[in-house]
Symmetry: C2
Subunit: 354 residues, 2 copies
């Protein structure tokens, strides 16, 4: 197979783990038969972007272009494309491809592809070019139509960008473990993921309790949909909820003590981790053995479920709370993100890159 | 309520965490209205007995009488007893009572009683006397009939004693997580629990793989029912099974690396711990997040399920592989147990106490 023709597009990239992101020009393939070319209007800023730019997961290939909460307009389609046309408003999340043949891909759970994350929007492999995939901090992207999502027309597009990662990452486990009315559900952490978790758990009809180390976040948490707020560093507040939760969604990627949360679960309750702390987490076996509790993980969502989530958000008018930034503010935004100084997701206005 | 009249019975007890078990005379209540008095014929030796005798769980009250794999004959019943009569062959496991009113007790999951393990066969509270409960290393015991189990007549009674703890501890999670035909199931460790896990998983129709650090156990494991044996210290053998297990039952209570086992699970596979390592276990979050895996705990079983398990063992002629010892060999047996020098459960012939 000959390599496809490429075109140039502006981007922001990191040249190494220790240097800031700077303007760059990158190559994208011209749309192939089943490809959609997208003018990126907005791109959300995920904590994974920072991990990747700084090689904190030890697989970054430089120059690195992060960004996997991408929304924009279709500017061209290949001749085989059936689902999209020029002018459509679309989204791209954490995946731009997968093996498509393994048992997980065949049931639409491409995030658990047996071939791993080779189809990652950044840090994966651009199979047509044999180069590392480059993410959404750029003016345009070309993606096979099966990995392009339709954005609901009624949503503010910038505020909808974070749905593509923060949204689906919290929606998927809440759906998979059937969170709903009559259940008491905890959300740990009120960041980009956590604030979406609160919104979804509330929309699904659960009684929602937000756990935070910052008492100052209580009013905000209630405004976002939490029925109760627990300051997790207050042992008495924690003890008052012992053995009472059906489900806890843990969105914290900093090191933290899970055992305090296991003890809040009912019999057969489940704590699901979607943040990814760097170091292994110590789990006290007794906390699981008593009451037959479970500790699980969940990773973003597959393409069908991501579309389902976007449609749900359209119906229920759910978006992320965002702070818009210019592309050249990205390095400051990373520093502020590390201090949790964002309510609740930065979104890059890609017009600022022109 | 006046305290019931007591009688004396011979036992073996530990006077402190650091002294061997020695002969003793203990007090039991005379049977009350709903009580069954049992002449103990055999008592299995569980690793928990050793933990308790040596105060390794930090709640032992001395003098301590371990033993919760009890089988024997009914020698007296209170006037309110309806399910048992003198001469019946019965069993008593890890529980002699529970609160009986909490949501868990009401559905027959007394092992997850909201009041905790106050009804433990040893280390709990004898509510009529206000003293610590004393276990099965003794000539007789008195138990409320609701916590007495009927032993299948066709089983070797000594070999059936370990079913009351090792049996139900492995049967319950395999049933709860619906292990059966078409599934690939791992059992970690071939000790008292593990060898029962192999027998049950095989009886339930699963493809059974035994994980052991001891290559010498392979032939035995196959004889007990394992289809395959994996030496867990052999990285190549482990890698060959990556991502292929539906369920893994981990019976090891020594410190060990769980993450190696998580990586063997399929999408949505579950590793269930029934051993209870003393120290918290480090869990690599990525091992759970990728493939949406779960790590759970399970504790013995409730009374209805324990009876179901005994009946299943009667129907399928399943018992433990045992080595019979005299009561005065218990301290040596503990030392041998620590070296895994037992195939696969010590059972005390209680006639040796007379």
């Amino acid at each position: 197979m000959p390599k496809p023709i490429c075109y140039s597009t502006k981007a922001f990239s990191a040249a190494s783990a220790t240097t800031p992101l700077t303007p760059a020009v990158i190559e994208r393939r011209q749309p192939l038969a089943d490809d959609v070319q997208i003018q990126i209007l907005y791109c959300g800023v995920c904590h994974s972007d920072l991990h990747y730019a700084r090689n904190e997961w030890h697989f970054t290939q430089y120059p690195a272009v992060p960004g996997h909460e991408i929304v924009g307009n279709v500017t061209a389609v290949g001749p085989g494309v059936t689902k999209f046309k020029v002018g459509d408003t679309v989204g791209v999340g954490c995946l731009v491809d997968s093996c498509r043949t393994c048992p997980n891909c065949r049931v639409g759970l491409e995030q658990y592809c047996d071939a791993g994350m080779s189809g990652g929007t950044y840090g994966g492999t651009e199979k047509h070019l044999g180069t590392p995939t480059l993410g959404g901090y750029s003016q345009s992207i070309v993606v096979t139509e099966d990995f392009v999502l339709r954005m609901p027309a009624n949503l503010n597009l910038a505020a909808a960008a974070p749905l593509l990662c923060a949204g689906i990452t919290t929606y998927s486990p809440l759906r998979h473990w059937k969170v709903g009315p009559g259940q008491k559900v905890g959300i740990v952490g009120l960041g980009g993921l956590g604030h979406m978790g609160v919104k979804f758990a509330r929309a699904f009809g659960a009684h929602v309790v937000l756990f935070t180390t910052s008492p100052g976040k209580a009013a905000d948490a209630r405004k976002l949909g939490a029925h109760e707020v627990v300051v997790s560093t207050d042992a008495a507040q924690m003890a008052a909820h012992a053995g009472s939760f059906d489900f806890i969604l843990d969105t914290v990627s900093a090191d933290h003590d899970l055992n305090a949360y296991f003890n809040l679960l009912k019999r057969e309750g489940n704590l699901v981790l979607v943040g990814a702390p760097e170091k292994p987490l110590p789990v006290a076996s007794f906390a699981l053995i008593f009451r037959r509790r479970s500790f699980s993980g969940s990773l973003i969502g597959g393409l069908p479920e991501t579309q389902e989530m976007l449609d749900f958000c359209g119906t229920h008018n759910i978006t992320s709370d965002i702070e818009m930034i210019r592309m050249d503010q990205i390095n400051d935004a990373y520093e502020r993100m590390l201090k949790s100084d964002v309510k609740y997701r930065f979104v890059i206005d890609m017009a600022s890159l022109a």
